[in-house]
Amino acid sequence: MDGPAALGQGHTQPQQEQAAAKVVERLNPAVQQQLNLESVKTRAVSLFKAISRILEDFDHIARTNSSPKWQDVLGQFSMVNLELYNIVEDIKKVSKAFVVHPKNVNAENAAILPVMISSKLLPEIEADDNSKREQLLYAMQNLSVPMQLEKLKARIDMIGAACESAEKVIADTRKTYFGTRQGPTNILTLDKAQAAKIQEQENLLRHAVNHGQGLRIPMDQRQITSGLPAHLADVLPVADTSQTISESSGMYMKNTPPMASNAVNNQGALMQGSGSQLMGRAAASPGGTVMSSFDNTTASPLPYANSPRSGSNMMNTPSPQQQTQLQQQQQQQLQQQQQQQQQQQQQRQRLMQLPPHQQQILAQQLRQNPMAGLGQSLGGQQQFQGRQLPSGGIQHSMGQSQLNQGNQLNRQFNQMSSTANSALFNAAQATPNNQMMSNMSAMMPSQPLVPRMQFGLSGGNRTLGSQMNDQVFSNMGASNPNNMMPIQQQQQQTGSQGSFGNMQQNTQNLQPTMVPMQNLQQNFQQQRQNQQ
């Protein structure tokens, strides 16, 4: 028999065993660890006190007819409930020690077994029970048992009905309370004008919060005139070379030259802005990071040897001289837009000096150039410094079919023995339409960038003067007025979207890097006239 170890240890005399459950005996140490009876008793007593206190409170409330603070009452109730639950749980755990499950009768158990499995209540409990029962059936003692049953059932039903009606009343009250906010029974209604005004304000506010309507500053007003607040001051670079970064990067419409299409406008402005942007953020673009390492006399090792752009990176690193020159010119750019206009016109004239056949070659190659390749190769303004375009022969080598895929373009770059300017140049040139040209013309106003572009065209000549840039720039402009657009489109199609901005920017640079040909100017003008 799996009797309680405690009782097993106790004396086996029947008299003692009868009161074993209540006698303070030394429990089995294991049981004692599980449940300290003393603590249980203490907790039960304190619980009893808490409940009695709550009942007293209720008495007091009932007597004084004040409404109870339900929040507090419920809180107290939950506390008491929880404590009771905990005590019961604890006792359940050790109930095994006090529960008898007789399996076998032997001499040892025979005496106490009847006591243990007796269902007779303990004397005190029994007395308590009896008194309660008398109280309940006081009125019905005379009646027969079935009658008593019926009466008890009726009593239970009444109590149930009372509970239900109480719940219903609470729900109804709640509904009417919330119903009144819509029912204008005794509530002032706003007059029409005021309501309309509020409605209008509300729409304004909601649209502002959700969609930003009414909060957009027009592009031409997006100038950072006053100092930036602290949290933006160190976030947006405020170097003098890149004052407009926030606006150029964020609002590409600044300094937008008049353009044919909106898309072109964006691109042009983007080129203008992002040039400075990239300048200011040397680490931003892959092209940017290779800025400083380029030596224009050698094909320097590529910082991103394994990147898809690695082929084109060769030509993306400007020399330090050119880089600083570029920075200086960017500063000037921000301040001298008119000069830009003039200079770009001069560049266009210089472009005319390219021999006609080269212009045609450029045009062909630009038509075919996928934007991806172009974008990759046009890492930034600085990237073109020091670049020299190959002679026309090399340009010929850029087959049209090859140029149609950016990856192939990269490979071509790698294959180029000369500086990869040629590939870049060809890439730029491959964009077929006139859109490029219009973008280029848009780019023209961003003057300081242009003269800096030292994208030398002459094969063996590594002079990187601004003149060459101008010539190249104008050459590019001459041959492919609208090449930007298709580049963009192609770029999107080929998925190399990241380079878009670079590409935009670099088309400006491409122009200056074209081979300075002395006789291009007139041709350029003619072409522009033809195209326009």
């Binding site: 906010r181 506010l205 878009f500």
Partner: protein, 218 residues
């Protein structure tokens, strides 16, 4: 994913609302001053422009940045039956370089606004956040110091609760039941649905103000 409702309240009743919320939520209010920059992606990042919001919390001496992307909301008959808007939302703390990062990715600033107000974060069936802010616009770019309220007399109240695909019903229920408590002062609805002000607002505000610290025996 989050459940969200919005409402408006007249500025004169905001204090009463604060008292009511103090009683309902049982937590302390947090002041809010957030510079929100809304960036839209450029054409290089896909045919559909995506929008991302950068929130710079200016309340602390050291500003903290959060990036937030709000996606499409749930549609359909089921969504119509729910009184809150359930939409996808992704939010993350970021470093202060986030603005530069997004600019470099090609995002452009679409608009910016300044939210000044207070918020309560508490748990009532779901983790609920209620914010009451006055939305201000900046006349000059990034000039958070001089901002002008978009609507001086009206502030925006927003109740949000994060949810997941499994529990959004419970969260929606929790949010809408909480909103019922605010019924005397304002009416909350899905963003985009106009509500107007509540006629009882003035009376409710008066009663709330008269017992400051008020008992909310609801």
């Amino acid at each position: 994913m989050e459940c969200v409702v919005q409402g408006i309240i007249e500025t004169q009743h905001v204090e009463a609302l604060e008292i009511l919320l103090q009683g309902l939520c049982g937590v302390r209010k947090e002041n809010i001053k957030v510079h929100e920059l809304c960036l839209k992606s450029g054409p290089n990042l896909g045919s559909e422009a995506s929008e991302v919001r950068l929130l710079c919390n200016l309340e602390q001496p050291e500003p903290t940045w959060t990036v937030r992307h709000v996606g499409g909301s749930m549609r359909g008959a089921g969504a119509d039956q729910i009184s809150v808007l359930v939409r996808t939302m992704v939010e993350s703390k970021v470093s202060k370089n986030v603005l530069r990062l997004f600019y470099l990715l090609g995002y452009k600033l679409d608009h910016e606004l300044l939210r000044v107000g207070f918020a309560f974060h508490f748990y009532r069936g779901a983790q609920i956040t209620i914010t009451v802010v006055s939305v201000g616009k900046m006349l000059k770019l990034h000039a958070t110091d001089d901002s002008v309220p978009v609507t001086p007399g009206i502030q925006v109240v927003e109740v949000t609760a994060p949810a997941s695909a499994e529990n959004y019903n419970e969260v929606a229920t929790a949010v809408s039941s909480f909103c019922e408590y605010l019924a005397p002062l304002l009416h909350l609805s899905k963003p985009g649905v106009t509500t107007g002000v509540v006629p009882t607002a003035a009376a409710a505000a008066a009663s709330l103000m008269s017992f400051s610290g008020g008992n909310n025996n609801m």
